[in-house]
């Protein structure tokens, strides 16, 4: 008996070694796992970096039927502060500037006051209207009824990069799980390697176990580069506990690894499994809040989006990284991930074609 236990341990070790060697001897896999998330976080972090408060840009029209002085006066009022950049323009130029987004609002002097031309669906236009109106009303003699006390804050964790990094971690866990497991299993089946191994005394459970162990090990090596990079380049901090973060990543990573196992359970060649992985991952890539919040989708879609494993994983990662949440408080999200993992595993065991 002990002989057979030693054999099994050494078999698991050898299968795991095979997986590791095949992984680190494949330069492409190394790049997509380690390099790509860094490049993506760097590019997106630069593109969406936080800037200081920006002034709104408005045009002041000088219509023919109103004295030019009225337009000059409005321009002077608006240009007095730093909140607004005002530009004098002829009506046709102002029209084009508004349409192309160069200005957010057009101020049109009238015989009795001012008209505002703007697009109320544009957030910058609504902001410009409020700011411009305020300045013009005050200059015309309106008095404020009280002086508000201003308490400004800069919340760490509110920047786009703070939102992005947990999303990239979740996305990375999904991609490496699905591709790393699914693609390599399909390749082993195509090349008859799976069949050849089934002609040895190898146990199926040992084989799958070795695959999942390697996935877990690789996943632990994938996290530090992105976290350290985000920390040193963009000052992204982890508000919650690192241990919680790692445990969530392990659960999520294994969930997607098992999903990869399911997707590869029948596929006779890597092309089929690529298609399946794309079909499975694309909705999550779009809806699960990798690059922007999943709450932007309509309410009717929310129950479905909430039920996706990547949404749950991203929400849990963000809660821990940004809000410092505990494992217990993201229990619902973890349960969703675990349910997907167990469901896929049960199904994969039934469907998996070994020979």
């Amino acid at each position: 008996m002990s002989e057979s236990r030693t054999t099994r341990l050494s078999a698991i070790r050898q299968i795991a070694l095979m997986r590791l060697r095949l992984f680190y001897r494949e330069p492409g896999a190394m790049f997509w796992t380690f390099g790509f998330p860094l490049v993506l976080s760097f590019v997106l972090g630069i593109a969406f970096r936080s800037r200081g408060p920006e002034p709104v840009v408005v045009a002041v029209e000088a219509p023919a039927d109103v004295p030019l002085a009225r337009a000059e006066q409005a321009h002077a009022i608006l240009s007095a502060g730093t909140d607004v950049v005002a530009r004098r323009m002829s009506p046709p130029d102002a029209e084009i500037a508004l349409r192309t987004g160069k200005v957010s609002l057009v101020v049109v002097p009238t015989s009795t006051g001012y008209a505002y031309r703007f697009d109320p669906t544009r957030p910058d236009s609504r902001l410009a209207r409020a700011v411009t109106d305020n300045l013009l009303q005050r200059a015309d003699g309106r008095t404020d009824t009280f002086q508000p006390e201003l308490r400004t804050v800069t919340a760490r964790g509110a920047r786009y990069i703070d939102f992005l990094v947990p999303g990239l971690i979740g996305f990375g866990l999904m991609s490496t799980g699905l591709w790393g497991i699914g693609f390599s299993l399909a390749e082993m089946r195509t090349k008859k390697l799976l069949k050849r191994l089934m002609a040895t005394p190898m146990r199926r459970t040992d084989f799958l176990f070795a695959f999942l162990v390697v996935r877990a090990v690789l996943l632990l090596t994938e996290l530090p580069p992105l976290l350290l990079f985000a920390h040193f380049v963009f000052d992204v901090r982890i508000a919650g506990s690192l241990v919680s973060l790692v445990l969530i990543a392990l659960l999520g990573g294994l969930t997607f690894a098992v999903m990869g196992l399911l997707l590869a359970s029948r596929a006779e060649n890597p092309q089929v499994v690529s298609g399946l992985i794309n079909v499975a991952s694309f909705p999550m890539y779009l809806c699960s809040g990798v690059f922007f919040s999943s709450s932007k989708f309509p309410d009717v879609m929310q129950p479905f989006i909430r039920a996706l494993p990547l949404t749950a994983l991203n929400d849990a990662l963000r809660a821990v990284m940004i809000e410092g949440a505990s494992l217990v408080s993201v229990g619902r999200e973890l349960a969703i991930c675990a349910a997907w993992g167990l469901g896929c595993f049960a199904l994969a065991l039934r469907l998996f074609k070994w020979r």
Partner: protein
């Protein structure tokens, strides 16, 4: 424990797929310590048969006993006793010879160590080379080493030398003969007659999923009733003429069989010195011009052609 006499025993083996019957009621006994060859053209059902014996395919019906045990009840035990080389396996390209053998060795409870397996197939120089860098012959030697690393009692080799250079083939033959010498049993498939004649104690000829002949290579050749084959090419290759000539030559002295094939007439003869003058005389009286005549000792290839009317490698 009592050791059963047969390494392989199968009865009434049938494997049907939706549109084709690959194996059609095949019986097979392989004795312990014997090398048994399954011969047949591509698509004859050799590989399907072997994969059923290896426990990789379920037969539609029929009984299979390997080393006296059945796959359903003793799979774990059987896997430890069997060495298998599939017709086509691509081992992981980015692993080295040594790493691949270590992997296969780890899957068996007992076996030879990796170094002795490397020496067994003379891959010492390539020990640290990746699979991707090996030649066809080296890959096949590695595949056989993987099959032998668990020190099996029974070895299955599915077309072990197809497409290999003569040197690699001879090298693999030596490995198989050495395995047999140590008491191992072998089942191999091939469509090379010289391979079967060199390695196999007995051969079975398979066609359309059925065993159409069984015996030692010598028995099968002798069953032709003659030990020489004469091939005649005439100036004409008109089918009717060739058929008429073949029919006439059938009664010539010393001729056992005569068949018209595409472009030629093939005779099986017992005594060449008696048959040849008679054959030439018959051709002369029929006014047929001989363009080519060749003779050779009968081989398993001729047995197969006689049995099926087709060449083995069609």
């Amino acid at each position: 424990m009592h050791e059963p006499e047969l390494a392989v025993r199968c009865r009434g083996l049938v494997k049907r797929y939706a549109d084709v019957t690959a194996v059609d009621g095949l019986d097979l006994d392989v004795r312990r310590g014997e090398c048994f060859g399954l011969l047949g053209p591509n698509g004859a059902g050799k590989t399907t048969t072997v994969e059923i014996l290896e426990g990789l395919l379920e037969p539609t019906s029929g009984e299979v006993e390997i080393l006296g045990r059945r796959w359903k009840t003793d799979e774990a035990w059987l896997r430890q006793q069997l060495g298998v080389s599939l017709q086509e396996t691509f081992l992981p390209e980015r692993l080295t010879v040594r790493e691949i053998l270590a992997l296969f060795r780890s899957l068996f409870e007992r076996g030879r160590d990796v170094d002795s397996a490397i020496d067994l197939v003379a891959l010492r120089e390539k020990e640290h080379a990746r699979y991707a860098a090996l030649s066809g012959g080296q890959r096949q030697r590695l595949a056989v080493a993987c099959a032998l690393v668990g020190e099996p009692k029974l070895l299955f080799l599915d077309e072990p030398t197809t497409g290999l250079d003569p040197q690699s083939r001879r090298m693999l033959w030596e490995v198989v003969l050495a395995f047999k010498k140590q008491g191992g049993s072998v089942v191999l498939t091939t469509h090379y007659m010289d391979e079967a004649e060199r390695l196999c104690d007995r051969v079975g000829v398979v066609d359309h999923g059925k065993m159409i002949a069984l015996g030692t290579p010598k028995e099968l050749i002798d069953s032709l009733g003659g030990s020489q084959i004469v091939e005649i090419t005439l100036a004409t290759d008109a089918e009717e003429t060739l058929a008429a000539v073949a029919a006439a030559l059938r009664s010539a002295p010393g001729v056992q069989h005569a068949r018209a094939q595409v472009g030629r007439v093939v005779l099986t003869v017992t005594e060449l010195h008696v048959a040849l003058p008679a054959v030439l005389a018959e051709l002369r009286t029929r006014g047929q011009d001989l363009t080519n005549l060749s003779t050779h000792h009968a081989t398993l290839e001729d047995v197969f052609v006689t049995l099926t009317g087709r060449a083995l490698r069609e």
